[in-house]
């Protein structure tokens, strides 16, 4: 509760929190099918209809309601972003902890593998993975997770290395605490702050990468809806139907903005040393 109050007291946290909250609500509603129209229903007589009282954000080339598809697109983007970041954070934490705890050969091996993954531009690595497995939601999740795992590994390994040498860890060892207990209680609890900040910022990247992959036709596949796919479809129709570009474009931008603002606020709250850098 105190943590929530701290977020709301922070200007960026307040705005970011509200944006993320609204998006989460929209994503849940989209997932539950609570949309103004059926997102797949083609109202052929109303193709490329401008926004009005019935179609709040207009219709697309097939006469499908843009607002409903946008809600479904937000759900889809959120599922991919949350699932991929959850996977990346888990894998990164395990690998980072292992590298820091076991040291020597393990540390060298894990970090060199991470260096190899980091030597690729993110989108290129994701493209390569998708080419191997084939496009789709699950592939996008796996690709984005693999791309961001090295970042989480680095975020965890650095602090874990220094925590490992702290007195309280030595004390825990002396008292006979098991390795599992020290790793999960003493180390993990102290890593929650940097991880929380990183997760929030990674969610913004997750949204961005999912939209980028879908834009290229390698993410979510039609007829399912995705913000990147909607933008890609708008390319040849933007002069005739600008709402096809403007609404999905704004939706992606505001969503990423929400996570970035929240991430900045969390960094301020959880790591006061970074206060200025985050401003």
């Amino acid at each position: 509760m105190q943590f929530l109050r701290a977020i709301l007291a922070h200007p960026s946290g307040r705005i970011g929190g509200v944006i993320v909250g609204v998006y989460l609500l929209v994503a849940i509603l989209g997932l539950l099918g609570v949309t103004p129209h059926d997102p797949l229903m083609q109202f052929r007589i109303d193709r490329l209809h401008a926004p009005n009282g019935v179609y709040w954000m207009g219709t697309d080339l097939f006469g499908r309601d843009v607002a409903s598809r946008l809600m479904l697109g937000i759900s889809q983007s959120f599922i991919v972003a949350f699932a991929s970041v959850a996977l990346a954070a888990t894998a990164g934490t395990v690998l980072g902890l292992a590298a820091a705890w076991f040291g020597r050969g393990w540390d060298g091996l894990i970090m060199r593998v991470m260096d190899v993954l980091l030597a690729f531009p993110a989108i290129l690595l994701a493209l390569l993975i998708i080419a191997v497995v084939g496009p789709g939601t699950w592939t996008s999740i796996a690709a984005i997770a693999i791309v961001y795992t090295p970042i989480f590994t680095r975020v965890v390994r650095g602090p874990a290395l220094s925590l490992k040498t702290r007195d309280f860890v030595d004390a825990a060892r002396t008292f006979g605490s098991s390795r599992h207990y020290i790793l999960t209680r003493h180390l993990m609890l102290n890593l929650v702050a940097p991880l929380t900040v990183q997760v929030t910022l990674a969610l913004a990247w997750g949204l961005l990468t999912e939209a980028g992959l879908s834009f290229l036709g390698l993410g979510t596949q039609p007829p399912a809806s995705s913000l990147g796919l909607m933008l890609s479809d708008s390319r040849n129709l933007m002069e005739m139907a600008p709402w096809l570009l403007i609404f999905p474009g704004l939706a992606i931008m505001i969503g990423i903005l929400g996570f970035n603002l929240l991430g900045d606020a969390l960094r301020d709250i959880l790591d006061p040393k970074m206060r200025r850098a985050a401003a």
Binding site: V116, A119, F120, A211, S234, P242
Partner: protein
């Protein structure tokens, strides 16, 4: 071992890792290169013809032999023959690279020209309304994906001014500089948009740190003009994080801006890699990804060396 030596030692190891990863992953892509190249006509090939083609492109042996042969060639500058283009991979890459390099340089120039003054300005107006405006713009800029910026630029040009960006055949800089810039300026603005926003944010925070240091206060109390304090005394020390960010971003841009190249129909490195992956052009994917990773790592190394030049106190020994 100090940091730079360690970086130099691990450099070839990481490159080896990259080459193995790319080699294996592209071979896991379903389908084969000959069918991808010839399409339905591949069905007309006799087994002998197919075997001859596979031998020509070096894909007739086992993976280990193929890898060994490719790696030996790569170390001598021979990256193999592209199935799609029918010519050496290095030639194909070097044809595309000037565009990618120019686009990356232009984007970085835009980002620094806009971001640096904006960040410095915001830092000197800390917590005033003008600072807030710059910060809001920077945050929005950083949150806007480049494909949204690119599409909006095309939309505004076509609807507002009735013109479309120059697309189609690309003109190299040395053939016609004006036409070349005309083709690249919009993609560069598209890529420079978020880049400038990041530079603004990092320059602002670095300047805020430096402006609160004792030597700046001393300079001010000695009566050094305000502009001189900011640009001559404070800015050089605030440049280190800006250099890091610009270097990393530049390294990424050298890998090709797949989506922006796609939007503006530019024949750059990014689109080439995307097409090569989709075409299962093994040699081209391997060669270009290795080339991109090498560029990326070299740029990062240069960034580290620049630290030492900008701040002689850093010896990179304890990192």
């Amino acid at each position: 071992m100090n940091y730079l030596t360690r970086r130099l030692v691990t450099f070839p190891l990481v490159m080896l890792g990259v080459s193995i990863l790319v080699f294996i992953s592209i071979r896991l892509v379903p389908g084969d290169a000959i069918t991808a190249m010839l399409g339905t006509e591949a069905g007309l090939l006799t087994p002998d013809q197919r075997a001859a083609l596979e031998a020509y492109f070096g894909i007739d042996q086992g993976w280990l032999v193929q890898y060994g042969r490719w790696l030996t060639g790569a170390m001598q500058g021979d990256l193999g023959i592209s199935v799609t283009y029918g010519k050496p991979v290095l030639d194909v890459i070097l044809e595309r690279f000037p565009l990618t390099l120019e686009l990356a340089l232009l984007s970085m120039a835009i980002a620094l020209l806009v971001g640096l003054p904006a960040g410095v300005f915001a830092a000197t107006r800390n917590e005033r309304p003008s600072d807030l405006i710059v910060r809001v713009f920077a945050m929005i800029g950083q949150s806007t994906p480049n494909f949204v910026v690119g599409l909006l630029i095309i939309f505004i040009l076509s609807v507002g001014f009735g013109v479309l960006p120059v697309m189609g055949a690309f003109t190299p800089f040395f053939v016609d500089p004006l036409q070349n810039l005309g083709q690249l300026i919009l993609p560069a603005i598209t890529l420079g948009f978020a880049f400038a926003a990041s530079v603004t944010r990092i320059a602002r925070s670095a300047m805020l740190d430096v402006l609160s240091e004792d030597y700046v206060r001393t300079a001010r109390s000695k009566g050094v003009p305000a502009l001189s304090v900011i640009w001559r005394h404070a800015l050089p020390n605030a440049l280190i994080p800006v250099v890091t960010l610009s270097g990393v971003e530049f390294g990424y841009l050298l890998g090709g801006a797949v989506i922006v190249e796609q939007i503006f129909a530019l024949p750059g490195l990014g689109r080439m890699v995307l097409d090569a992956i989709l075409q299962r052009d093994y040699a081209l994917v391997q060669g270009s990804v290795l080339f991109i990773a090498l560029n990326f790592m070299i740029v990062n190394l240069i960034v580290d060396l620049t630290y030492v030049m900008l701040d002689p106190r850093i010896r990179l020994g304890d990192r």
